[in-house]
Amino acid sequence: MAVEKEKLYRIHLMVCAGTACVSNRAFEIKEALEKEIKRQGLENEVKVVTTGCNGFCERGPLMVVQPGNIFYQMLTVKEIPYLVEEHFLKGRPVKKLMYQPPEEKTPIPVLSEIQFFKKQVLVALRNRGLIDPEKIEDYIAQDGYKSLVKALTQMTPEEIIHEVTISGLRGRGGAGFPTGLKWQLVRNAPSPDGEKYIVCNGDEGDPGAYMDRSILEADPHTVIEGMLIGAKAIGATKGFIYVRNEYPLAVKRILIAIDQARDYGLLGHDILGTGFNFDIRVVRGAGAFVCGEETALIASIEGRLGEPRPRPPYPAEKGLWGKPTCINNVETWANIPVIIDRGGKWFASIGTPTSKGTKVFSLVGKINNTGLVEVPMGITLREIIYDIGGGIPGGKKFKAVQTGGPSGGCIPAEKIDLPIDYESLTEAGSMMGSGGMVVMDEDTCMVDVARYFLSFTQDESCGKCTPCREGTKAMLDILTRITEGKGTEEDLSLLEELAYTVKETSLCGLGKTAPNPVLTTLRYFRDEYITHIRDKKCPAHVCRQLNVYTIDPQICLEKGHGCDVCRRNCASEAIIGAKGEAHKIDQSKCIKCGVCYEVCNFGAVKVD
């Protein structure tokens, strides 16, 4: 196929168009840039490129100037004309739009010098911010599909599996099963008609995790390439990518990528003239968390109810339509092309003895630098939270980090030097999960966090097996009672007993792991449960039934001059007082929504 000769430009502006930046009006920034570049006569020298997620979501909308790797952040349309004139016409980078770490006086111009990016090692996310995800040419220019050529023309299926095995890659979706072994099992499994399937699990349901979304949005071809290599290794001819329905942009980009790959002869019949056939179909999820579980996912692809079934037989033997099926998650597939390109040994040189390579985490919650980070396995929590994450906002105290979503647990502040790998997280009572990392500070109530996750799993329980359906409900009832100040100390031992029963007897991973948030918070934060039960108080003031809001009349009058903002915003007409007077809350009317606390600029509203 003839490739059009690309026009050369002096400068490329890589504008992040990940979901977070798009909702921060990134496309308006792009339009403004293009308009201004044209107005200043630079359209033949400067090109605007929209990329996938850059990772530093906290600072969006973002743009990186290449060459030079200059990082601009928190852009507004208003500043674009000045930026274009100064930097691209006059060659003077604009300092005020660069990232300046809190408590430092000078901004950091170059992306790779910024703490958030410095400690990251990019394998799965290697192309982030470098390519336009809707252009296969961009992916190919970054050595894309080179590994596929190698796998199809120079390697036998056994050699591919061997390379993946020695890389030590383990499933990035949660359970951490060795990928090479899984491939071998599927390759060895007999199929009645010779048909085998490959599935990419993009049903990223863990709240607080969005790396799969980001990879599909920023670099869809890496997933396709990974699946193609996997297909050759196990002998599959059909693949499915299962994407959450809540991710419209990811669905759009993967569909574009599949079409382009077909046009280039990289999907379909006789790929690259090697006689190898493989094609991919995209299946949209329909909003059921349990479909992330592999047997439920299979049922859902087949058009049935997304309910799990007992294993064995594992999908490796009997999967889609009863045939051997290899299911790996998005991030796992994204690692494959690099392993084939650079070798399993290279990949295994990163990380710890049992957990090799890198892992992508979404660092969210009470943290300064929210975003997506890819780090070598074995890095400590401290490095992630303080060096990369920039610590806790507002000088608050770090309390815990929740990993692994609803299946994981809370790791307390005293374990901050814990190295992050599959084993140490499990030992601490949590798990790797898909890589959500929700940071919690002193204002987070751990009982409420446990109740939150339980309400999630209870709601998402498919109802097929009794322990999960009834057990999570009983546990949730107890937790709700405690957060309302109606709990008893006997509740705690009952809670533990229920937790162990649900864990041991549930049918699938959802139920088996659902009690983890409760068990870890009971293990590390039992005193918080006791305070809720004995003193009927929530130390973090999160459990609203236990909160009492009051207004300090002196502060209200002296500092705020009875500004009346709280009364006007009050949802239940519970605030008494005229403008200019000290205000007061009628406790009998207060619904404890906390809006007065939110709007008071003088700190006159107190919560106890």
Partner: protein, 151 residues
Amino acid sequence: MIEAKVSEILNKYARDESSLIAMLQDLQEEYSYLPREALEQISREMGVPLSRILSLATFFRAFSLKPKGKHPIHVCLGTACHVRGGQLILEKFERELGIKTGETTSDLLFSLDAVRCLGCCGLAPVVMVGEEVHGKVTQTKVPVIIKKYKK
């Protein structure tokens, strides 16, 4: 009219039973809910019991058997949004719109639902109205957001 649309969808997926969920998704997208007559037609033409179609329609969260508002509001209750006060935002919407979560306003302008993580945790708490994402929402911003779509 619905009948023609359903036939179009059935043909698009070649009446393949494994595509039932995809068909319902197309229907949901078209009408913002799954009209009863459409489900009956699918059942009839594909020879699949209506009970099986209804079990899919009620199992998956993406489907609704009642019409949704012109501007569907989804308040994120993912973990990051939860620790940053998402529940309070949801309740504020309930009060401002005068409906409960899962309901639609009588003028069919808004429907209110809670979702589990929209995947833009960096902007928590997040609210999605239609396809538009609003980040770092506070209780005081809620009436402003609603007003924007009332025009």
